[in-house]
């Protein structure tokens, strides 16, 4: 994986995904190692993100790397009209690797073609967010002991949720059975369902969360955005059906864990946080180890 950019989850093979997860496990045991102290990591966030950016910066810092970059383009020459191409070419001269989030789809792929250094895509518009997928896979593997043959429920906005699409695609390599819970308007796109079928896997669709709770090993919650509904009344009707409350978890299997890519708004009530099955904050922590693994392997140190 040395010098290889990670723009889409499929840029890395299944074996390379596993290698990253294994390496992340090592970093979890020992997160502070100064193996990247001769390197400069650039974090270019053209769009706000607290979690992903700080997670990458923490990952890099704990490995001894120096971090440069910006967290929003307002303070840079992008304001003066500088193109993405020029920005990337310039920053590539100042760093050994670029972590980038940008509002336009395809921006990371383009950056990887003009950059002299590898690019890690931290989110390109509504397209890919491969490091989220990897940390989701790490979290699943860690809590279930395996990625194979699991029953996984996805709840909420399955139509627009890029983390959902990406994770479904990645999990299709592991004989997963999918349980899809969403309002009619926000069902998983048919292209993604076709992908599941092509892999000879099963998916089941539901409109109520309560039905899937006893069946699954992982409950992956997502936020339903008001903006997706042209009729605000429709939104009000629908939103409370996709809220997870602690009382709903009585029938859950003991090994079941609740994941959420965060930020969480109201779709998981606070009373769930103290339930040992709530895993979403640890999930975010796992992001640091996975990102350490990516930085270390792409920079050729591990």
């Amino acid at each position: 994986m040395k010098n290889k950019s990670l723009v889409s989850i499929n840029d890395f093979t299944r074996e390379e995904h596993i290698h990253i997860l294994d390496l992340a496990e090592e970093f979890e045991k020992n997160p502070t190692q100064k193996i990247l102290q001769d390197f400069v990591v650039a974090t270019l966030f053209f769009e706000p993100s607290t979690r992903t950016r700080l997670s990458f910066e923490s990952a890099a810092s704990r490995l001894g790397a120096k971090v440069i970059g910006f967290s929003e383009p307002g303070s840079t020459s992008v304001q003066k009209g500088e193109s993405l191409r020029d920005t990337i070419k310039t920053v590539a001269n100042y760093s050994d690797i670029i972590v980038m989030r940008h509002p336009k789809e395809g921006s990371a792929r383009f950056a990887s073609e003009v950059s002299g250094v590898p690019i890690i895509n931290a989110g390109d518009g509504a397209n890919q967010h491969p490091t989220q997928t990897l940390l989701d896979m790490y979290s699943i593997r860690k809590t279930q002991g395996t990625l194979d043959n699991l029953n996984i429920a996805f709840v909420g906005d399955l139509k627009y949720g890029r983390t959902v699409h990406s994770l479904v695609m990645a999990l299709s390599n592991y004989n997963t059975t999918f349980h899809l819970v969403s309002p009619q308007l926000l069902k998983l796109p048919s292209a993604t369902k076709m992908h599941i079928k092509e892999k000879n896997l099963a998916y089941h669709q539901y409109t109520d969360i309560i039905e899937v709770i006893p069946k699954v090993d992982i409950l992956y919650m997502t936020r339903i955005q008001k903006e997706r509904f042209s009729d605000p009344i429709e939104y009000e009707k629908v939103k409370s059906s996709y809220i997870l409350r602690n009382s709903m978890l009585e029938t859950a299997k003991p090994n079941m864990r609740i994941l959420h890519p965060l930020p969480r708004v109201n779709e998981i009530t606070i009373d769930v946080d103290d339930n040992p099955q709530a895993y979403y904050f640890t999930q975010a922590l796992n992001g640091v180890f996975v990102r350490q693994a990516l930085l270390a392997s792409i920079l050729g140190v591990k």
């Binding site: 336009k104 789809e105 395809g106 792929r109 383009f110 397209n127």
Partner: protein, 155 residues
Amino acid sequence: MNNNETRKELKVSAIENGTVIDHIPAKSVFQVIRILNLTEVSDQILFGTNLDSQKMGKKGIIKVSNKFFEPDDINKIALVAPTATLIVIKNFKVVIKKNVEVPDHVEKIVKCFNPNCITNHESVPTQFTVIDKEELKLQCHYCEKITARDTISFV
């Protein structure tokens, strides 16, 4: 050889050496000219449109003297003229005659349908993989979204 055959052969072989593109849907002739960059070509070009055709109702035809195209270039026109026939003429004789085929990749000529794609905001030539030749579905190399038949527009 009877008169009908002679006439047919002469119509197609009116150029000594070069390329004929026949059976172009009449409404696509000018697009084909643009796709093949024929405005930059200095050789003799004849074209006709709205010609009667038994096969197609109305068709267009383009004849370019002394020019031979790479299959990759010609196949681009399959996006707007899937019924087109490529005919290569040497010494007044037809040496190749075949249908155009939708290519596997399309570069530079098609616009990405996604307004939020980087190709619509930076100077990046577009690149697409044709994931469905029948239905003409083009997947953008950058934003990974699909531009479908009815939304195909040219740069």
